[in-house]
């Protein structure tokens, strides 16, 4: 009785998948209204002319997930979440620059 381990092969969302509005809502446990708000805030920029034709990627999933958690846990509204995410992006790139300069 020697069962070889069966490893699950997933795929990298960012590179191979496109998510519809429904997929994205399900993946980050959000109401579609919130996602539509985030698109209107300019935080998510899906391809496609109308909500039913929108196509999102994994980058959007990451941003939407963080926005949903900030709203749920800290009571941040979509505009505030967009601001927080943009500031966090800036902070990340500054930290990366700093670690490059320090040569750590």
């Amino acid at each position: 009785m020697n069962n070889p381990t069966r490893y699950l092969a997933g795929f990298i969302l960012e590179e191979q998948d496109e998510l519809t509005l429904d997929d994205l809502c399900r993946a980050c446990a959000a109401q579609s209204d919130l996602i539509v708000d985030l698109v209107h805030e300019g935080l998510l920029a899906p391809v496609g002319p109308a909500p039913e034709l929108w196509r999102f990627t994994g980058v959007h999933l990451h941003r939407a997930t963080v926005a949903v958690r900030l709203q749920r846990d800290l009571g941040v509204n979509p505009a505030g979440a967009a601001l927080a995410l943009e500031l966090m992006d800036e902070l990340d790139s500054l930290r990366a620059q700093l670690s490059r300069l320090q040569g750590s």
């Binding site: 699950l8 969302l13 590179e15 980050c28 994994g58 749920r72």
Partner: protein
Amino acid sequence: MEFKDYYKVMGVERSATPDEIKKAHRKLARKYHPDVSKEKNAEARFKEIAEAYEVLRDPEKRAAYDQLGADYQAGQDFRPPPGWNPGRASGGATGGHFGGAEGFDHSDFFDAIFRGMGGEPPGRGGFGGMRGGHGFDMHGQDQHAKIQIDIGDSYSGATRKLQLRMPVEDETGVTMQDRTIEFVIPKGIRAGQHIRLAGQGAPGIGKGSAGDLYLDVEFLPHALYRAEGHDVYMTLPVAPWEAALGAEVEAPTPTGEVELKIPPGSASGRKLRLKGRGLPGKTPGDFYFVLQVVLPAADTDAAKKAYENMAATFKAFRPRAGLQNTGGKA
């Protein structure tokens, strides 16, 4: 199990008003939110705070908790008193809850105290009590988990095991169980990307299909390499004469040792690129050496002499020529 002092966790007095508790929670939640915080153990702290708030914000749960008295210290061994009954089961929930996309676990202490009271955290939809419904189908929830991998795993691909506590369905219904998942780390994955494992999330209800499991990928810090997107950087120390005169040096990369030409006249911070030697992929990233000039110590007479010779040779060198005293004006 350990007693948990929820008042201490929230940093409030036992006599705190609901408003004080809410304010303390908001402040701590901002400080330790795993998406925002760089504090150590932010995630564990955040869960602890969420659990404390869940108890202290709910008058029924707070009263039940207060019945235990102030005699317990945090961390002290705790057994629920004989005949402990925290109150009626609220809302007709029959246990078996599971959280939203994040999967929210309570401590054993919480479970022992509030068993039967309906332990749904605020703002997260649970399915407690829905199980018995007939003709009710629902897609299982997607689950998220963070995984930390080495940068080398992305270069070569790898397999990993992950232990997850998540809802599992068997004859007795849906319960939280530990599950081991074995999965492939695809070659070329970058920090911040997600691996999607279809059908590995929470079980569906009725005829609903199971949700998916999303693995959020982070890189463990590496002693030599750091990734930025699909490019990889490494600081390469060089001697002053190597930087000034040029040199051929050997240097490690994740794909093996390379011979590298340092161009003459290089300064600290100069980047040397190995095209296509960053993280693999359809468009592979680049690998960069960032030069850092390091100085030998002047700890022998000969070494001191060498520095003195340099000083004599470079008499005209003005390292601070660009600095002007402007009296603090920009």
